[in-house]
Structure formats: C-alpha cells, structure tokens
C-alpha cells in the first residue's frame, strides 16, 4: 500500500543552529506514530515544516502522492492534514462552539458537509466526541487547560483530516485529563484515523502508539516499536545520560 505521508531529507537551520538534519519518515494509512526527543530536539520544527508554517532548507514532503513542500498551511489543511499546536492558542474571545465552527467553513469541510447540515450542528458533533458539548456556549478563555487541549483536537478534527498531527497533547495535563485524552485518541485510532503525536510524556505516549521515532539534536537516532525504542541505548542516553559505573 502506498504511504499517505512521505518525508525525505528534510533539513532546517536557524542561523548557525541546525534544527533538523536530513529527516525522513514514511507513514501509512491508519498508523499511530509517536515522535519523541528532549526539548529542542526539532520535533515541533518537523510539524511546522510538514504543515507549511516553515519552509525547509532542503528535502520534500509528499502527502497522498502530491508534493506539498511549498504549499501554504491552509492549502495543506484542505488537502487533508490537520494539526494542533504545542502552545494551545485558540480563539479565546470566541465561544467553544465558534472555535470548531471556524474550520467547518474551510474549503475541505464545506465539501465534506452533507447537504442541509448546518455548520454549527457539525461543529457540535465534534465537540461531543471530545466530551465538550455541554460547554459549547462558554467563552474559550474560561476553559480549564485540559479542556483547551481537547478543544484544540476538536478544532483540528473538524476538517475531517486524513492525517492528524498532535503536538504534545498531554503537556500540562493531570492524570485524570490525560486518561480522558488517551481514551479520545484511542477511539479516533480505532475508527482508522492516521495520527502522528509528538510527546514528552513517554508513559502516556508509548501506551498508544505502534511505532516511535526518536530525535536528538535534530537527527533521527532510532525508529521502532515502543519496546524496541525503550531498549535502544542512544535513546536511553539522550533521556537519562551515560550509565555511571
């Protein structure tokens, strides 16, 4: 089966700092992949380049067989790739429902919407999937942090993407909220949603994903199942340092 996403030779430098060096990844339909690495490893830079927010210095990204490296972010969303943001930054002075209505007016969502279905009822469905339906009329700035994370996912899901990129979705969540989010991600995966998740919280991530990519100082150092990654010496050193005798 052809991959849904192919990344080859992606590199980016910010001045003298090499943020990403020759990154490559192949993703197939239905996969749930995790990207791990310490702070500053280049994880979010990958997402920003895949989704068009930053242009790479070299390399290319193919999505569903089409080269998307030079496309603008909104064009990539309308092709079927959606993302959340590391720093949850929604439309704070708008209601929860309005936050999810905005992507419902994207070109892709309008084409997908069944005739006669109102955008607010479609947005409500996505909110209910994330357990936020009862908060639909609340201003976003009044939401708890865990709810903001769920809302950001609902917003990203509203364009019915073929692939969903989640940037540190567990960051800042307590145990209860993390469990709710894990359940939501599991449900989406069971429905066949392809996802790539960047995460620091290894315990939450490794329970969910099928394959893990580890990045340190902009370079991919390991790729494999969660069990393989945990045993990989370079990953252990990156996270815990050299073993002391």
């Amino acid at each position: 089966m052809d991959p849904i996403l192919e990344i080859k030779g992606l590199s980016k430098a910010f001045g003298g700092l090499k943020a990403l060096i020759d990154f490559a990844l192949t993703v197939h339909q239905g996969e749930l992949i995790g990207i791990i690495g310490p702070n500053g490893a280049g994880k979010t830079t990958i997402f920003n380049m895949i989704t068009g927010f930053i242009q790479p210095d070299s390399g290319d990204v193919w999505f569903k067989g089409e080269k998307i490296t030079q496309l603008k972010p909104f064009q990539i969303v309308n092709l079927g790739m959606s993302r959340t943001f590391q720093l949850v930054d929604l439309f704070r002075e708008m209601t929860v429902l309005e936050n999810v209505m905005v992507p419902c007016f994207s070109h892709r969502a309008k084409n997908h919407r069944h005739r006669g279905k109102k955008p607010w009822s479609v947005a409500m469905e996505f909110l209910n999937q994330m357990g936020l339906g009862h908060r639909h009329n609340e201003l976003t700035k009044n939401l708890a942090f865990g709810e903001l994370r769920l809302l950001d996912i609902a917003r990203a899901m509203a364009t019915e993407p073929d692939i969903l990129l989640l940037d540190e979705p567990f960051s800042g969540l307590d145990v209860e909220d993390a469990a709710v989010l894990s359940a939501a991600i599991r449900r989406m995966h069971e429905k066949g949603q392809t996802m790539i998740i960047i995460e620091h919280r290894l315990r939450d991530l490794l329970r969910l994903v099928e394959r893990v990519v580890a990045i340190v100082f902009g370079e991919k150092i390991a790729e494999g199942t969660p069990e393989e990654i945990l045993k990989e010496e370079k990953v252990v050193i990156a996270y815990f340092g050299e073993r002391r005798e």
């Binding site: 969303v77 439309f91 007016f105 009044n142 364009t159």
Partner: protein, 321 residues
Amino acid sequence: MANLEDLYGPRVYYKRLFGLLILSVSVLLAPIVVRDPYYLELLFLCHYYVILACSWDLLTGFTGNVNFGHAFFIGGAGFAGALLNLHVGWGPWLTLPIGGLVAALCGLLVGSFTLRLRGPYFAAVTFCFATLLYKWIMIRYEIFGGEEGLPGIDWLMETALGNYYFSGILMLAVISFLYLLSKSSFGLILRSIGENEIASEGSGINTTFYKIVAFMISAFMAGVAGAMYGHAQMHVGPEMAHDSLSALVLIMAVVGGMGSIIGPIMGAYLLTLVNESLRFMGEFRLLIYSSAVVAVILFAPKGLLDIITRGLRRVAGQETT
C-alpha cells in the same frame, strides 16, 4: 442547553435587527422635529462619519490589521467622482458607485501586496498611500485645484433635507449590510483572523483572501461616502485625503468600540455632535475635545460600547464573561 438554531440560525438576525429598526425609524422621523437646515447638515455629517467609521472597523476592528490611510479611499473617490462630474458630466447616481469601485480596486492593489504579510507593513503602506495621494493632489493643482480643491460639482440633492435623507438611507443600508456580514460566517472568519491568524490558517482558512475582501468592501464604502460628501458640499478639497481625516475615523471607531459595527456608530455620532457643540469654546475646543478622547481611551480602552454593555449586564444580574 441553548437551542443552537436560536444562537446561530437566521432567527438571531431578526432579534438583532430590532435595534436597526429603531435607528431607521429615528432617522426617518427626525426631520419632523429637526427642521433647521444647520442641524440637518450636522446630522448629514453624522451619517457620513458613521459610514466611514463602520467601513474602517470591518477590516481593522475584526482582523486587527490597522488601516492608517482610510482617507486614501475617501479623498481618492471624492476627487474621482468630482472629475467625472466636471469633465464627463456624470451625475451622483454614477459617480458614487464608480468612486466606490475605484476605491475597491485600489484596496485590492494595496491589499494584495501587503495583507499577505504579518507585521506593521500593512499599516505603514496604508499611511504612505494616503500621504502620497494628498501630496499628489497638492502638487498637481492644475488637475485637482491645489489647496482650493474643485468647486462647482453637481449637488447630491437640492436641499439640506434631501441630503439628510440620502445620507441617512445610505448609512442605514451600509450599517445593515456590515452588521449582517459581521454576524455571518464571513464575520466569524474575520474575527478568528483577528484573534489568532495562525490558528485560523491552521483551520484551513485562506486568511489573506478574507482580509483582502474585507479591505475591498471597506474601501468601496469609504469611496461611496467620499463621493457622496463631495456632491453634498458641491466641492472637494485636499482635506478629504489628509491623514487627519484617517485619524478622526480611527478615533471614532476606537472611542465607540472596535470590532462591533455598533461601537463606531456610537463613536461617530458622539464625536461629531460633541465637536460641533464645543464650537462656542473657540480656541479651547480642540483642547477639550482631545482631552475627552484621551480620557475615554484611558478609562474605557475597549470603547464606550463595552462600558454600556457591561453596565447593562450588571443591571440585568448576568455574569460578565
């Protein structure tokens, strides 16, 4: 749970247009009480500034892209309309829409290059375009009449009452259109751009397209108002393209409350009437007027509409969210 149809369906428009109905009736019936041509001309000015302030608010108030050169469209269309009237003989029923279209095309040209960019570039370029137009008008005095401008333009309507009703109906049409637009999906998208353009783009919205369209609509309405003003005064002058007019429009929208359409209506009426009522103070008028504006901005930075809305909510016993 509130009915979504009530919150977002067509019924929400019917409720909100009730206020517009009150304003419409007031505009239509006011001349029964106000008969003096001086006051009718003053109210004409109010209508004119409402159109300018509301049209400015559509882009800046909603998307946050600050237009420092609204006078470019007002003066540009005013002079375009005047030249068409004087040299080609077209009357206001043609010069007004054409003036608006010329302004909209200028908006497309300016916006296409600058609204793609984030940062102060758009604000700087709009200021520069207005300044360039003003200088050009002053330099090419053989075309534009220099400091004296162009007199002898055909009237808009024969009487002050006619001008009042023409401008009033135009104002009501503009307000209705802009208000309905602001509450539509187009308005929602503009608000999302103003709140967080990156998240809006990340939601699949072509933010540049929407900003350019908003800018063109804003420019068209300012252009129509500029051409209307020229015909009503039977004269156009370089002050219509001066940056002080851009600043005045901005102040009216800010004082009233940006991003609401209703706020600029309040700001335009209030500042026009206050400015006129202070005329008896002579040279102190500008000092008092400016001090009052600064005081409002300091103590009510979100504008008077915000103060009134919060006050009404407090009286009604609702939580302020």
